[in-house]
């Protein structure tokens, strides 16, 4: 509504306010053609210097730069440039947002549907192997004709481990460290089952060499296989953590670009206001609004996703890791408890204080300490009643286990092997330690199931917070760019 205030640009550029004769609503009133020069040739500010004969053509780039420089000397030219820049900025903002959020969303999706299940599968391989070893030694202790329960348990564990291993092999990149570990585990698994079968066969015949085979199998498991399984588990956990980091990192490029876009839009409108005294340019306002929406959505969505994922990590993954470790410790402890009775002093270890003790009893104590520590930590991490309850049960089971183990050990030390055996693998009436182990194991499995659910819920919430953001951002950015172009075009048309 005001007049076109021509801020005389510093240089000696000829001010060429295009003739106002356009269909502009208000019509720039009496554009004071400041200098006497008539606005003849430079229609649209394209042909740069009309009078001078053109010098020999130079490179397209140099020519383009010249054209641009010349364009910048006229207001429509400047508007064109501003319009183009705004459009590019808005579109770039949308594109970067879409790209960065797609990355984060897919990382979050990986956490939920890929790396966590893989980490969980690795933990399963680990615990299946440890469980198989425990079941094998329990069955062995029962005599050549082992019980159906222990045989089934052993077979299920081996099958489970083999299944999970082949699944893990499919999921690992060929030649990767995980693939090597899996291949090694596969080889060792067949070696291990071979030893177990030999142990069983000799045990059936009543030969003590069966016990030697079982110790060899146990040694293969504990010193060669479980460390590999642990490595695989650690590797998958590392991948999980890096997916978490990818999913929760702030999209700084998008945010920075968003702020820059808003700044540019504000500047363009302020400039527009200063030149035309018109406050609102619909196109630019629309562009500003969409850019603001995208920016807010981006920040809010990412923050919600972060909090959801953070929760899934704190309440799910950390608990799961601690619980898995505790379960492995309990399985190893049980295996060693059995082996003490199989080995009957065949192997000893010298402690740092010079005492020589039974290797397996010593390992049992080490694992029980690890179990105790793990359970304390799990109790601390459990954040709700359904999570706390099974851990408390496991703690109770472990305390009873330790008490009974001491009694069984005393029977063994006093030379009553049969009684000691009954106190370890006997029937309910004997109050065997096996009962306590089972209760600890069941409780830990329940706790793991619960934390798994917790994790999945929180992570899904986090993932949901990002839903639609990439597509939305892209769409809105296109709209915003259109708005900016239209807004500038509106202004530009006043010069025609």
């Amino acid at each position: 509504m005001g007049e076109v205030t021509v801020t005389s640009t510093s240089s000696a550029a000829p001010p060429t306010p295009g003739s106002p004769g356009g269909p502009g609503a208000s019509g720039a009133s009496g554009a004071s053609t400041a200098s006497g020069l008539p606005a003849i040739p430079s229609q649209g500010g394209r042909g740069p210097v009309p009078d001078v004969p053109q010098p020999p053509r130079r490179t397209a780039f140099a020519e383009g730069v010249d054209q641009l420089r010349a364009a910048a000397t006229t207001e429509p030219g400047r508007l064109r440039i501003i319009g183009a820049l705004l459009a590019v900025l808005v579109v770039a903002f949308g594109a970067v947002t879409a790209w960065q959020m797609t990355d984060r969303s897919s990382a979050a999706d990986d956490v939920l549907h890929n790396s966590q299940p893989l980490s969980s599968a690795a933990a399963d391989i680990y615990s299946s192997l440890a469980d198989a070893n425990t079941a094998a030694s329990s069955g062995f202790l029962a005599g050549g004709d082992e019980t159906a329960t222990s045989r089934d348990r052993y077979q299920r564990d081996i099958r489970n481990a083999a299944d999970k291993l082949s699944a893990a092999a499919t999921n690992s990149a060929p030649g990767s460290e995980s693939a090597t570990t899996i291949a090694r585990l596969n080889k060792l698994l067949s070696e291990y089952t071979g030893y177990i079968e030999r142990a069983r066969a000799n045990n059936r015949l009543g030969f003590p060499v069966g016990g030697s085979y079982l110790r060899l199998a146990n040694d293969t498991m504990q010193t060669r296989m479980l460390p590999q399984a642990e490595k695989l588990y650690a590797k998958e956990n590392q991948r999980l953590r890096s997916d978490y980091a990818d999913a929760t990192s702030y999209p700084w490029a998008a945010i920075g670009l968003g702020v820059a876009v808003l700044g540019a839009l504000v500047w363009a409108q302020r400039r527009n206001y200063q030149r035309t005294n018109r406050v609102l340019n619909h196109g630019l306002v629309a562009a500003t609004a969409t850019a603001t929406v995208v920016l807010l959505w981006l920040v809010a969505g990412q923050s919600f996703a972060r909090s959801g994922l953070g929760e899934s990590y704190d309440h799910g993954i950390r608990s799961l890791n601690v619980l898995h470790d505790a379960r492995i410790a309990s399985l190893k402890a049980r295996g060693n408890e059995n082996l003490t009775l199989v080995a009957r002093g065949a192997e000893t270890v010298k402690l740092s204080d010079g005492d020589v003790v039974d290797t397996y009893d010593n390992n049992f104590r080490t694992e029980m300490t690890a179990l105790g520590k793990g359970l304390t930590e799990a109790e601390r991490l459990a954040d709700d009643q359904p999570g706390k309850a099974p851990v408390a049960t496991a703690v109770g089971g472990m305390e009873e286990w330790q008490k009974r183990h001491k009694e069984a050990r005393a029977e063994y030390e006093s030379g009553d092997f049969q009684q000691a055996l009954a106190r370890v693998i006997g029937d309910k009436g004997d109050k065997p330690t096996g009962e306590c182990f089972d209760s600890v194991d069941t409780a830990l499995k329940t706790a793991i199931g619960h934390e798994q659910t917790e994790f999945a819920q929180a992570a899904a919430n986090g993932l949901d917070a990002m839903t639609g953001l990439p597509v939305g951002a892209a769409g809105l950015a296109v709209l915003g760019a259109a708005g900016a172009v239209l807004g500038i075009g509106r202004r530009l048309s006043e010069y025609r």
């Binding site: 045990n203 009543g206 003590p208 060499v209 030697s212 009957r344 065949a346 020589v356 039974d358 092997f417």
Partner: protein, 358 residues
């Protein structure tokens, strides 16, 4: 084997020649230092081989081994010649130790045994809840309990690891050890022994199809398994250091925690032969029909009942029991039950050793 004087002389000559070669080689390369080393090596060779040129003592079955064993033992305990002859005369008098045992609330003999030695001391895994320990050592323990306490089952069996046999006695955790324990001069420093109740020696165990014939050249380049801390491993190391033909090129680094683990390695093809006490080798052979003892024993070892050092009343009492055990034929009965199937009735182990007391 027995008329070994000429053979031994040949061997001496061979080693002399080797020594000279070493001397020459040494002089060429290293001058004085090499010569000194060669002279030392020669001196050691002489010290070790000299006893071989003399006629053998009674009851020794092996060939070269005995000399080295004596040499080693002589340096370890100069005073101790025949460790198996250091036990007190048999007596049925109750001393302090036996009275202490008899006056216990839990009137049982506490005995350290092996529970994994087939035919010596083991538990049948298929015996169910009533499975008892059984074997040659266990028979002896029951006999001792019968004679001292009047009840053959008044025994508390404790599984004692090999390397815990002496500490267990010293700490008073057990009254005696009946666990295929060889009487040696070194052990006599820490514990007392009864008179020997079994004669054995180191022996080679290998698959029947193997080319290995015994403790000799047929072991060239073979992998030999022995238990950590065992007499067998010590012997192998000493022979390897002395470049004895049997083990000069053999790999003796395959050691396992317990001798029975050697059978596992043998069955898995990870080793070619096992060296252990003949008695235990026989126990391994009894668990696998495809392996057998190869050649004769190449050392002479005696098993004894170990008691706490200075518990002479108990040792004397055990000696008396052993005397009767041999005389009434129960020793033989036990041997026929447990060991005859693998050791045979012709073995030098098939008869109880004749004791000599201090």
């Amino acid at each position: 084997m027995r008329g070994g004087v000429t053979m031994n002389a040949q061997r001496l000559e061979r080693s002399l020649r080797t020594g000279l070669r070493v001397l020459r080689a040494g002089l060429r390369g290293w001058g004085g230092v090499g010569a000194m080393a060669a002279v030392c090596a020669l001196a050691v060779a002489f010290a070790l081989l000299l006893p071989l040129t003399q006629p053998r003592g009674v009851g020794s079955a092996g060939t070269g081994g005995q000399g080295v064993a004596v040499g080693i033992q002589a340096s370890a305990a100069a005073a101790c010649r025949n460790p198996q002859d250091q036990s007190p005369e048999p007596s049925s008098l109750d001393g302090r130790t036996i009275e202490e045992i008899k006056s216990r609330a839990d009137r049982r003999l506490v005995v350290g045994v092996d529970q994994n030695s087939y035919r010596w001391g083991y538990r049948d895994p298929n015996g169910g809840r009533s499975a008892e320990l059984e074997g040659f050592d266990i028979d002896l323990v029951h006999r001792i309990a019968q004679d001292i306490l009047g009840d053959k089952d008044a025994v508390k069996f404790k599984a004692i690891p090999t390397n815990q046999r002496i500490p267990a006695l010293k700490d008073g955790r057990v009254d005696m050890i009946v666990r295929t324990m060889t009487i040696t001069c070194d052990r006599l420093k820490d514990v007392s022994f009864s008179a020997p109740y079994f004669l054995t020696g180191q022996q080679v165990l290998a698959p029947k199809s193997s080319t290995i014939k015994g403790y000799d050249k047929t072991l060239d380049g073979k992998r030999i398994c022995s238990a950590k801390g065992s007499t067998a491993l010590e012997k192998l190391k000493a022979d390897k250091a002395a470049k004895k033909p049997a083990v000069a090129t053999a790999d003796i680094d395959k050691t396992v925690p317990s001798q029975l683990d050697c059978l596992v390695r043998l069955q898995l093809g990870q080793v070619d032969a096992v060296v252990t006490d003949g008695a235990l080798a026989a126990s391994q052979a009894a668990q696998d029909p495809t392996v057998e003892l190869k050649g004769n024993t190449f050392t002479t070892d005696y098993y004894g009942v170990a008691v706490k050092k200075g518990a002479n009343d108990l040792a004397a009492q055990v000696n008396r029991i052993l005397e009767q055990y041999r005389q009434d034929g129960d020793w033989q009965k036990s041997y026929d039950t447990w060991l005859s199937p693998t050791l045979g009735s012709e073995s030098e182990s098939a008869k109880p050793p004749v004791p000599r007391y201090k």
